[in-house]
Chain length 282, copies 2
């Protein structure tokens, strides 16, 4: 008798697909913003999908979360107050809270269901939601940043793709509000899509950030469960130079707790293949 | 009426799958070594598959070929004679031949069908096979290196995965023969599988190379059509330091002809995420 042949599959732009063999569906439902599924897989452990797209997995989430959090946090010389917009799974907050200088992480996730189901089904990631430094606010990040001038040293935009509920998180107007929500010398990081498959989105994000911030850089990380396995981030700074990399004494505190990020990886992430630097200078 | 829904799919270890929408099958057949297919896709142009696995595609081949060729060639101070083992599609030879110092590229591909079908169906890659500097030999690379002491400045192992015809290309005995085929100060590069999915293979390749060469480094590149989108290479050197990167005056000759490789990318490729450096030091 044949066993159940269950796969979870993400189809990207109707052209490429990525799939993982599944051992079961733990939850499927719908919030007012999106569909949400948690599927168990052999290759990646539990996978969180929003609107059918792989958002995070137990086995490779460390790459995305370490790189979206530590790159801006080690760029800022003394980050105390951190805002995470999106990131309802808790992974980015978990990493931010590890920094001894960080006193408070405000996590503003519009979709309460992401927070609830992450707490229930992805505890190794969602532990960041319940860290003593973290305050979770199930509100609209676009509104949140409008009324908090100079409130944060670091803003991290841990959004879904620029479709549906997240589209406003990629606009120049939103980036300008983020800039006002940052202190002088503040730093912003944002996930900025696939440099291979989402060329127009990457270009647009950088164009919008450059209209607001004096320095904007792209950096990359290799994330197996995102389309093409290669992801870009944008780092926008009101002062600090992201290319310097982390202060050794601050990184030393982390011991061997990080699985991807290190001093060399921080700097290397900003070394862009020619096809990406050309895209950004077009 | 629904249109044909044609996809070409690679299943990796029965756990993950990658697929691309196809517009047609250009050729399918079998040599004495492996099956060979060429499929046309929307996302990647023409794709060459061996034993059902994506080997190279028109749209992303530049990443693999530039990184497997230029990293060792710019590490060697004056590469004149180059050996490519495998690489029957011609892309690695194409890149090697671009170096003004290179006088001769011997390409030793065991499977004549790969050479024939690449010439016929992948001309933008296979042009390397017909470059005046290139000599194509449809022979066994394992035997080839046994009888050519000190014949090459650079050896590039552009093999398939360590199963089937390529398994001998990952052994310590073969690496020792490659070392003897290299001149003093010679440099070897080899594709070395996925650092995320093929952990045991990556470890074994490095163990075997370290038994033969005084310095061995891993480096990486982001290749969308390989499992996980992230690939590792091994660089073994009898002298030159690969971490130094290319001499600026030699790289300048290439103008803007390269689409991935540059001086910063060369050095950044050796900056390993913690999970890879830990794997290699186990």
């Amino acid at each position: 008798m044949a066993a159940l042949d269950l796969w979870v599959r993400e189809v990207h732009r109707n052209q490429i697909a990525f799939a993982a063999r599944a051992t079961g569906c733990l939850w499927s439902g719908k919030s007012e913003y999106q569909t949400l599924d948690v599927v168990d897989t052999e290759a990646f452990g539990r996978v969180l999908l929003l609107d059918g797209l792989f958002m995070t997995t137990e086995k490779d989430e460390f790459i995305y979360h370490e790189m979206i959090a530590h790159t801006p946090l080690f760029t800022h010389p003394d980050p105390r107050r951190v805002l995470v917009i999106g990131g309802g799974d808790g992974g980015t907050a978990r990493e931010a809270a590890k920094h001894p200088s960080v006193e408070r992480v405000d996590l503003v996730e519009i979709d309460r269901l992401v927070v609830e189901k992450s707490r229930e089904l992805l505890p190794s990631i969602a532990c960041g939601l319940d860290h003593p430094k973290t305050s979770v606010h199930c509100e609209d990040g676009i509104q949140w940043v409008k009324t908090r001038p100079s409130a944060y040293d670091v803003v991290i935009i841990d959004s879904t793709d620029p479709i549906g509920p997240a589209v406003g998180l990629f606009s120049e107007a939103f980036y300008a509000d983020c800039s006002r929500a940052l202190t002088d010398g503040g730093v912003l990081a944002a996930q900025s899509e696939s440099p291979f498959f989402n060329r127009e989105e990457v270009r647009s994000i950088h164009r919008n950030l450059r209209a607001v911030f004096p320095r904007v850089h792209a950096y990359t990380a290799a994330i197996p469960t995102y389309p093409g396995g290669f992801w870009s981030f944008a780092l926008a700074s009101k002062g600090p130079d992201p290319l310097k990399g982390p202060a050794p004494e601050r990184l030393a505190v982390f011991g061997d707790s990080l699985k991807y990020y290190n001093s060399e990886v921080h700097r290397a992430a900003f070394a862009l293949p020619n096809y990406i630097s050309r895209l950004l200078s077009e």
